[in-house]
């Protein structure tokens, strides 16, 4: 069967592209085409006009406009500045994981792993980095809930990928812990969980992550995770401890893995900044600024002393003279990257 037909003129066939999406730029991008209006949402800019077929057992709609205190007449107008969708995302992260796997292979096969400073291995790699895997996993769990409850597909996809980034890094650390067991005699890759669950250095951090995992409002999860926890704790750890301190300890592997997570964070920080910009200016969002500022203030106040205590402890443990001050500086920089400067809240981590 090889029937062919002449293309209908545009007045009959219409545009050879989606006509229901308003592009942010001059042309509809591939990201916009595959993302916009895929979430079957009633209200808040969604196209599902016949109402909810059935509510959830607790009486809420599948996509609940009251799932956050934030308000917006059209959540679907948000756009991810990274234009991320599944194909480039899987290609990007497959590349990152391949790089980690190859680096691990080389570092172990050449004996470079065995040359690491034992002090770094004990206190930095096992005592901090392996414990940090659970930090990342906890944020993954929190962001995954935020993704489920989020309004609009464009917000959802940013949060799905943000959550997946956390899971990827957590799993990469887990695999490293296993790989090093073959390279370093006596290395116990399972010890990180013990630090996470019982080491006094990490207990305030664990409590904090468990609090973020229990937040009810998905918008607040985004603020807590990406404007307080990540800038003040996660990224200073990755940039300072898991990069600089690791390198000083002769570890050429952890900085490579952590750098892939920093790249993820920079992408997510851009998306978060755009999220704030969007919410501060969107129709129907007059009360958003106060809500966001309140959340930012509360979570910054909550995270800052935990970060200070952790970095002071690591300053002595690793050792890493000046770590608390450097971490505060990185914290300010990263909070601003994610958009904290857009809100009239407390100065970050003063």
């Amino acid at each position: 069967m090889t029937r062919t037909a002449d293309r209908l003129p545009e007045e009959l066939g219409g545009k050879a592209d989606f006509e229901y999406v308003s592009p942010k730029g001059r042309r509809l991008t591939e990201y916009e085409a595959v993302t916009c209006y895929t979430q079957p949402q009633v209200g808040g800019g969604g196209l599902q006009v016949m109402g909810d077929f059935k509510l959830r057992p607790d009486g809420r709609p599948i996509f609940d406009l009251d799932g956050t205190a934030l308000r917006c007449d059209d959540w679907f107008a948000y756009r991810d500045p990274n234009q991320m969708w599944q194909k480039p995302y899987y290609a990007l992260q497959a590349g990152a994981e391949k790089a980690i796997d190859r680096t691990t292979d080389v570092v172990i096969s050449t004996g470079a792993a065995a040359a690491m400073d034992p002090g770094w291995v004990e206190r930095g790699l096992v005592g901090a980095y392996l414990a940090f895997a659970h930090f990342e996993y906890g944020l993954f769990r929190a962001l995954n809930v935020a993704a489920r409850e989020s309004l609009s597909d464009t917000v959802n996809s940013v949060l799905v990928f943000d959550a997946a980034d956390k899971l990827r890094h957590a799993q990469a650390i887990s695999l490293l812990s296993l790989d090093l067991e073959t390279a370093l005699p006596g290395f116990d890759g399972t010890a990180g969980k013990g630090h996470w669950l019982a080491d006094p250095t990490w207990q305030a951090v664990r409590r904090l992550i468990e609090e973020v995992m229990a937040i009810g409002d998905w918008g607040e999860i985004v603020v807590a995770a990406n404007l307080a926890v990540e800038p003040l704790l996660g990224e200073p750890l990755r940039r300072l401890v898991f990069s600089l301190a690791a390198a000083r300890g002769g570890d050429v592997l952890v900085p490579v893995i952590a750098a892939t997570a920093t790249a993820d964070w920079q992408r997510n920080a851009r998306a978060t900044r755009e999220f704030l910009t969007f919410l501060l200016g969107c129709p129907g969002g007059a009360g958003n600024e106060e809500i966001l500022a309140d959340w930012l203030r509360a979570w910054t106040d909550r995270v800052a002393p935990v970060a200070t205590a952790l970095f002071e402890a690591l300053e002595g443990n690793l050792p890493f003279p000046g770590l608390p001050d450097q971490a505060r500086s990185v914290g300010r920089e990263e909070a601003a990257r994610a958009g904290a400067d857009l809100l009239d809240a407390v100065p970050v981590h003063a």
Binding site: M1, R3, T4, A5, D6, L12, G13, K15, A16, D17, F18, Y20, V21, A33, V34, T35, C36, T38, P40, L47, Q48, V49, M50, G51, D52, F53, K54, L55, R56, P57, D58, I62, Q86, K87, Y90, A91, Q93, A94, E97, K98, D101, A133, H134, N144, V145, A147, R148, D153, V160, A164, R168, A170, S174, L178, D179, T190, Q203, E210, E211, A214
Partner: protein, 516 residues
């Protein structure tokens, strides 16, 4: 790096911990008891998963963008089949999106790290499927000779009386107790129906000359095996606790019914009416017997009888109804062409024997309608197939399908007036589901309720179903582009949507069983 997959998977699972400082809120409550440890449904690390999916993407998108685009493959297929993809692709995408939500809920609720790892991989699969199916819809819009429909489907599908029940059925993946979502999605839809949808559909596509759809659908199907494993592992976990059996029996029964109703109607139509009839293939009823009755009910569910799970009673009813569901559905669907965003085509008389051979008795019920349809396809005759229906048939409050299925004279309609609204149910199962918590069904309005009393031409305008010339309808009753219907043709006929159940008084139907 070479490492033991078993060890690696165990290590990754240990990322989970039981929170002790803060009690986690119960976000998605379940009545089921799930053991903390079970067998892994499959061992999938994100590192391997990403590499595998990126490779698949390279192949799939690569072939679509390269050779299939250069050879104009889209326009070499039978347009009757390609037109069916205009509703089918957005419908499939809805299922994928709800499935992603389902995985997020399961991974939050099920405190079992083996199962959770499986759900997480599936969640990312569903993102891939949602976006790749949308990408494919755009691909058809770019390359097919009549993009109208592909280019507006996300908007025009919303009030479509055919797509509403399908979307309602797929929404059960995210609107229930997470384990009930899982039963609807993984245990029924993915295990029983993805072979017909993603494997056999590609056969239908290929036999219709379409090499584009199979390229993507077979890539998607390659993920579905893992999803079925997730469903089976969850089911096995549920069955390992005797307390679950009393819930499971009823929930499985309802999940099968909720998926059977829309999916068998959809698949019956596509398999029996949107295929190249010059190529000898089985009827949908025969496929159903192989895949659902023997493979799924007999083999898959049969193995669970030793755990105390009885064969769901509704399967026997479904088997009877499958005989006629697609035919009644196809008739309604064709009659509704002015409200569709794709071009239909009347059944040619030379095809009648195939239907009578495969579905004895078909001609006496459906033949005259299709004979009439050929003449009514020409706008010059100023007559609509819809005129055969003075009223929109009662629509089931739960599944949104016409309650006159599987065939008007075989239907078991239940009608109720609750003091404010009339409700119609297609079956005792849908009726009982509604009565368990009527409040959960108050959020919707069906097509008849929305447009009762409207002139058809105004409904078409409201639904945005005109082509860019502002006159010609997107939906057409034939593939003839020389004789296309306009809004003026529809206006001249003046057919009005009548749905007496929309009136605020009790509705009575002569031959139906009426419960008050």
């Amino acid at each position: 790096m070479t490492r033991s997959l078993i060890q690696a998977h165990e290590r990754v699972k240990s990322l989970d911990w039981e929170t002790t400082y803060v009690e986690r809120p119960e976000r998605y409550a379940t009545k089921y008891h799930i053991p903390a440890k079970t067998k892994d449904p499959f061992r999938q690390l994100l590192r391997d998963f990403l590499a595998m999916e990126a490779e698949k993407d390279d192949r799939t998108y690569g072939s679509l963008l390269d050779v299939l685009a250069r050879t104009d493959a889209v326009n070499k297929a039978d347009p009757a089949f390609t037109e069916a993809l205009k509703p089918l692709l957005p419908a499939a995408r809805d299922g994928e999106y709800y499935a992603m939500q389902c995985m997020m809920m399961l991974s939050e609720t099920v405190e079992n790290s083996a199962l959770r790892q499986g759900y997480l991989a599936q969640e990312l699969d569903e993102v891939r499927h949602t976006q790749s199916e949308t990408w494919l819809c755009r691909y058809y819009a770019k390359h097919y000779h009549d993009p109208a429909g592909f280019n507006v489907s996300a908007r025009t599908r919303e009030w479509n009386p055919f797509l509403m029940p399908i979307k309602a059925g797929l929404s059960t993946f995210a609107s229930n107790d997470p384990i009930v979502n899982c039963l609807n999605l993984q245990v029924v839809a993915e295990t029983a129906y993805t072979n017909p949808l993603f494997v056999a559909m590609t056969e239908v596509a290929a036999r219709s000359g379409d090499t584009v759809l199979p390229s993507l659908f077979l890539s998607i199907q390659s993920d579905e095996g893992r999803h079925m494993a997730n469903g089976y592992a969850t089911l096995a976990a549920v069955l390992s606790d005797d307390r679950n059996l009393e819930f499971l029996q009823q929930d499985l029964e309802e999940a099968i019914w909720r998926q059977h109703r829309p999916l068998d109607t959809l698949l019956g139509i596509v398999f029996d009416y949107y295929r190249d009839r010059n190529v000898p293939t089985k009827s949908y009823r025969e496929y159903w017997d192989d895949w659902i009755w023997h493979d799924y009910a007999g083999s898959y569910l049969g193995k669970l009888e030793k755990f105390g799970l009885r064969q769901p009673a509704c399967l026997a009813q479904a088997r009877q109804d499958v005989h006629w569901l697609g035919h009644t559905g196809a008739l309604f669907l064709y009659a509704l062409w002015p409200l569709c965003f794709w071009r239909a085509s009347p059944l040619p008389e030379e095809a009648f024997d195939w239907y009578e051979d495969h579905y004895p008795g078909w001609y006496s019920y459906f033949g005259p309608f299709w004979e009439d349809a050929v003449a009514k396809a020409d706008p010059a005759n100023r007559s609509l197939a819809l005129e055969a229906f003075p009223e929109i048939p009662p629509l089931c409050r739960v599944c949104f399908l016409p309650s006159v299925l599987p065939r008007v004279d075989l239907a078991q309609i239940h009608l109720e007036w609750d003091g404010e609204r009339n409700h119609s149910f297609c079956s005792t199962i849908c009726r009982d589901m509604y009565h368990r918590n009527p409040e959960l069904y108050r959020g919707n309005v069906n097509f008849g309720e929305r447009f009762h009393g409207w002139e058809l031409a105004d409904v078409i305008l409201e639904m945005g179903l005109l082509r860019n010339d502002g006159r010609t309808l997107i939906g057409q009753p034939s593939l003839d582009t020389e004789k296309m219907w306009t809004i003026d043709d529809i206006r001249a006929i003046g057919w009005e949507v009548k749905y007496p159940l929309a009136e605020r008084k009790p509705y009575r139907l002569g031959h139906a069983e009426v419960a008050s």
